[in-house]
Subunit: 518 residues, 2 copies
C-alpha cells in the first residue's frame, strides 16, 4: 500500500515483453548490462518502438500538492518496456519499509525523497530512515552471502572479494567516519521557480533543502583494498564504480557507473561502507556495499557497488560524462554539449535556513529563532554562519557556540536568536564561510545553470513579521483575541474595523487632513 | 451562457429574502441606500445572520487557470442575501454583450476584466469592448429619458439636471478629451506573487498589465455645471460623486461614493461624460453618465453618476476613506488603520512591457522587438522610455519617433528593436520618465504596500534568449529542424545527443581533460 499515483499513465506493451534474468543467484533485480553489448542493443531496439510519455511540465507550472510530488511515469515505462516492472514495484516497497512515513517523496521512481525540515536539523547525525535518497534506478536485492566485489582494470592483481573478506579486520583495518552526503540537486526548487532549465532526459527532482544528510559510515578505505590488489598500474588516474542498478539514458540501458580520481582515494577519502550509523546499510541506501566519497557530490558514492576498475581518464559512462555538468548561464538547450560544462565533483560551501519556513507569519517580541545547516565539501568545513534579516545588507554572526561539532567532512547545524524590530514582509537569508574563506553566491541568479545543479546561493526565505512589542500591533492582536480571531492567514481580510471614527478624525486633525493647506 | 463557475459555493437563504424595490421608475438595479438609514440598518441585520464564504486564498497559492479566474462568491452572496441576485445575473449578461469575447475575466462579480496584451497595445485609443472594467458592484440599467443628475450640498443653487439638459450645448459647451484611466490595481499580480497582502474585505483582483486604457471621452466639464448651479459655497473644497451601484463593506451596504478636490474641477480636469469613443457609454462603463477624472486613479471616475455634492472635506464614504489607501511597508494586518495610509488620487509614472510576455522563449538573430505602454497621471506625461536587457544595469532609450502621440492625460505606446547578444534567461525591464523627471521604483519590493496598490515599479519579465547568430546555436537549431523537433518547450528534454563522441574527445583533448596536470 502506497500513496495514490496521481498522474499514472497506462502502459501498453508492444508485443511480448522481454525477459532479462538476473545474472547471478542471490542478486535479484541486478541485470548485468555492461558486459553484454548484445543485450544493451536489444533494449535499445525495444525502446525505439515506444513513444514514452513526456516528463511533466512541472517547471513551468506549480508543483502538484501530492506525495509523491512526481511519479516518474517515463522512467517507470522504460522499465515496463524492458520487462522490469517488478523492480519498480519492489523499489517502492523498500521506500515504505525503510524510510520514515512522512518522507517527502519528491519522485516516486526512481525514488528521490527528503525528510521534513524539522527532523532534518533535529540531530547532527541523521537517522537512517530520515536520510535523503536519490536513486537513479530501482533497488537491487542482493544476498550478502552471495555478494562479491570485483576489482579489475588497471590494477596489478585483479581480485574478487567477498563481503566477509572485506569485513575481515585481519585483511583490512576498519574505518568509521562522520560524513555528510549531499545531492547536487539540493535546493534545486529555488532555481526551478526562478528560471526553469535542464535539457537532460531525467526528470529534475524538485528538491528542497533536505537532499543532504550526515551519517557515521563504517567500512574500509578503498586505498587499502587497492593496495591489497597490488596497487594501480602506471597511468591509472581514476577508479570507476559499477552499481547494480539499471539506468536509462537517451534510449539506452546501462548499469550505474561513475568514477573518482585516484588522488581522492589516496588520502583515504573514499570508503567502501557496509554500515550506516552502526546498522547494516538499508537496501535503499546500497546494501550490502556502497562507496562513500567524502566531500563529493552524492552521485559518486555509488550504491550496490559490484565492481571497481582502475582507469586512465574519468569514466565515459553517461552518469559521469553526460550528467552532473555545471554550465555557464548562457548555455542551454540551444547550445549545451557534454564538453562545455564542467563535471561536478567537490561540493562547494552552502547552507540553508530550515526554520522558520518560507512564507511563515511570525508573531514575536523583538527576537526570533532561526535554525539551519551549513556545509562545505571538498575538504573544507564551515567556520562562520551569518544570517541577514533584510535580504543581505545587515548580517548577524551565529555565535560559534551555537554551531554544532566541526567535522572535516560533515555539515554543522546552527541556530540564532535574531533581534528583529521591523514588521511586515522581510527577506531572511543565510551565508556560510568555510575555512578557505569561500562563501556563497548572493542570488539564485548569480549561479543559475541549465541543469539546475548546486543551488549554493544564499538561501532566502520570506517571512511576515508581527512584532508584539510595538503598541499598535499589541493593540490589534488584543482586539483580534477579544473577537476570537487570528492574525493568520495573513491574507484573510480583517473582520473588525481598523479604527473608530473618533480615532480617524483625531488623526486627520493632527495631520491637517488629506490635502495641502492652500 | 457564460463560462463555467469553477468555485461556485451554494447559497442557503436564512428565511425569506428581502425585497428592495428600485427607487425610481426606469432606474432598474439602482437601490438608493444613502438616503435611507433604516434600509441600510435592515441589510446590516440580514448580513449578520450569515457566515459568508471566505475569499479564496489565491494569494498564497497559484491562481486557477480558469476564466473567470475568480468568481467572487463572497460578493455574490452579499447580493443574494439582500435579495439582489438579479443584479449579479444581469451584470454578467452585460459582460457577455458589451465586452470582447476573449477578455480576461479577472473577477466575475463584481466584474473586473482586462483585454489580452496583444490588443491592449495595438491602438493608441482602446476600443470600447477592450477597455478594462473594474466594477465594485452590479450594473444598474438606467433609462436615459428617466435619468437626472442631482447637484446638491454646499452649492449655491442646488439643481436637478436631465441628460438632455447636460447635452444642451446652449447651456454647456461640450468637451472631448483623450484620457487614460488606470486602476490602481494594474500589475497587482507582481506584488501578490512576491508578497501577498491586503486586509481589505474586497477580493484583490489579480490584475496583469491591462487595467489601463485610453478613450476619447465626450461630455461637459464639471466646472461648467457647478457654475451653472451658482458655484460652490464658501468652505466647500471637495465634490462628492454618488454612483447608482450597490457596494458592500464590512457587513454594511452603500451606494458607490467617492470625492475629488475642487482644485481638480477648477482646471477642467473632471468631465461628466456620456460618450466613449464617439459612442454612448456602454452600460458596463457607467451609462448614461459617468465622471472622468483626468490623471487620477480610476476609482474616482464614478460610473452611473446620479448625484454630486459639494463638501468640505474628502468624502467619508468607505470607498474614499477606507479603500485605495497606500501604506508604508511596515503596515499590515497587524497595525493598518485608515488614517495611517494616504489616499491614492493622482497616479504616478508607470509602464509595462506587453510583448514579449513573461517566460517567452525568443529565437532571434541579435535583435528583438519590445512593445508596451507608458503613462503618468496627475498632470504629467511620459517623455522618455528606457528598456534594459539585464534587469536594470544597461538601459536603451526607446527612440522618440517610436513613442506614440503625447497627450496631457493619456498613455503613450512604444516599441523598440533591442540589440541582444546574450543567450539563456534574461530579465528585461522598462522604466519611464515623465516631464517632471519622475521615474519608477526599481523593484516590486521597493514599493510594496499592504493593499497591493499602484505597482509602478520597473516592469520586469523573464525571457529565454536563443540567438541564431551564434554558430553553436545555429547548428543546434538546424539539427532540431532535421529531426522535426522544436526548441520549445524549453524544459522538454532534448531527444538528440548533445555532441558526437569525436567532438567530445576532441574537446577534452583541447582542454587537457577534466583534471589538473599533476
Amino acid at each position: 500500500m502506497g500513496p495514490p499515483e496521481p498522474n499514472a499513465i497506462p502502459f501498453r506493451p508492444k508485443g511480448k515483453l522481454p525477459v532479462f534474468e538476473e545474472e547471478l543467484e542471490g542478486w535479484k533485480g541486478y541485470i548485468e548490462w555492461e558486459k553484454y553489448p548484445e543485450k544493451k542493443k536489444q533494449v535499445e531496439e525495444i525502446l525505439k518502438q515506444y513513444d514514452f510519455p513526456d516528463p511533466p511540465e512541472f517547471q513551468l507550472e506549480p508543483l502538484p500538492k501530492t506525495n509523491p510530488i512526481l511519479t516518474g511515469e517515463r522512467f517507470k515505462q522504460y522499465h515496463y518496456a524492458t520487462g522490469l516492472r517488478y523492480i519498480v514495484d519492489t523499489s517502492w516497497q523498500y521506500v515504505l519499509k525503510e524510510k520514515a512515513e512522512d518522507m517527502i517523496h519528491v519522485l516516486q521512481f526512481p525514488y528521490n525523497g527528503e525528510p521534513p525540515g524539522d527532523r532534518l536539523v533535529s540531530t547532527e547525525i541523521t537517522r537512517n530512515e530520515d536520510f535523503f535518497v536519490r536513486n537513479h534506478g530501482g533497488v537491487p536485492e542482493i544476498d550478502p552471502d552471495k555478494y562479491f566485489l570485483e576489482i579489475e582494470g588497471l590494477v596489478n592483481n585483479p581480485k574478487r572479494l567477498t563481503l566477509a573478506e572485506l569485513q575481515n579486520e585481519e585483511l583490512f583495518p576498519r574505518q568509521t567516519k562522520v560524513v555528510s552526503l549531499q545531492c547536487s540537486g539540493t535546493r534545486r526548487l529555488e532555481q526551478i521557480r526562478q528560471y526553469p532549465g535542464d535539457g537532460d532526459e531525467l526528470i529534475n527532482a524538485p528538491w528542497g533543502e533536505g537532499a543532504i544528510g550526515t551519517a557515521r559510515w563504517t567500512g574500509v578505505s578503498l586505498k587499502k583494498v587497492i593496495k591489497y590488489c597490488g596497487g594501480l598500474k602506471d597511468g591509472a588516474m581514476h577508479v570507476e564504480f559499477f552499481g547494480a542498478d539499471t539506468y536509462f539514458k537517451k534510449g539506452k540501458v546501462y548499469n550505474y557507473v561513475v568514477s573518482v580520481p585516484w588522488r581522492k582515494v589516496k588520502v583515504h577519502e573514499v570508503l567502501l561502507a557496509w554500515e550506516m550509523n552502526g546498522k547494516p546499510l538499508p537496501k535503499i541506501h546500497g546494501f550490502p556495499l556502497r562507496a562513500v566519497v567524502f566531500g563529493y557530490i552524492g552521485a559518486r558514492s555509488c550504491k550496490w557497488l559490484y565492481k571497481i576498475r582502475g582507469i586512465k581518464d574519468p569514466s565515459e559512462a553517461p552518469v559521469q560524462r553526460k550528467e552532473y555538468l555545471y554550465y555557464t548561464p548562457q548555455i542551454g538547450k540551444q547550445n549545451a554539449m557534454y564538453s562545455n560544462g564542467f563535471s561536478i565533483q567537490d561540493m562547494p560551501v552552502s547552507s540553508a535556513i530550515i526554520s522558520p519556513k518560507d512564507m511563515d507569519v511570525i508573531t514575536h517580541d523583538g527576537k526570533i529563532k532561526l535554525r539551519g545547516w551549513a556545509f562545505s565539501g571538498g575538504g573544507h568545513w564551515p567556520v562562520r554562519v551569518e544570517v541577514s534579516p533584510d535580504g543581505g545588507s545587515i548580517w548577524y554572526e551565529v555565535p560559534t557556540e551555537n554551531i554544532s561539532t566541526k567535522y572535516f567532512h560533515a555539515w554543522r547545524l546552527w541556530e540564532i536568536d535574531l533581534p528583529l524590530d521591523p514588521e511586515g514582509w522581510l527577506e531572511f537569508c543565510v551565508r556560510t564561510w568555510d575555512n578557505a574563506m569561500n562563501t556563497q553566491p548572493t542570488f539564485v541568479r548569480s549561479a543559475w545553470n541549465w541543469d539546475l545543479h548546486v543551488t549554493s546561493s544564499c538561501h532566502r526565505i520570506k517571512v511576515y513579521s508581527v512584532n508584539r512589542s510595538k503598541p499598535a500591533t499589541a493593540a490589534r492582536l488584543k482586539a483580534l483575541e477579544e473577537h476570537g480571531l487570528s492574525i493568520t492567514p495573513i491574507t484573510k481580510p480583517l473582520e473588525i474595523e481598523l479604527e473608530t471614527d473618533e480615532q480617524y478624525h483625531a488623526s486627520m486633525k493632527e495631520q491637517h487632513g488629506r490635502d495641502p493647506l492652500e
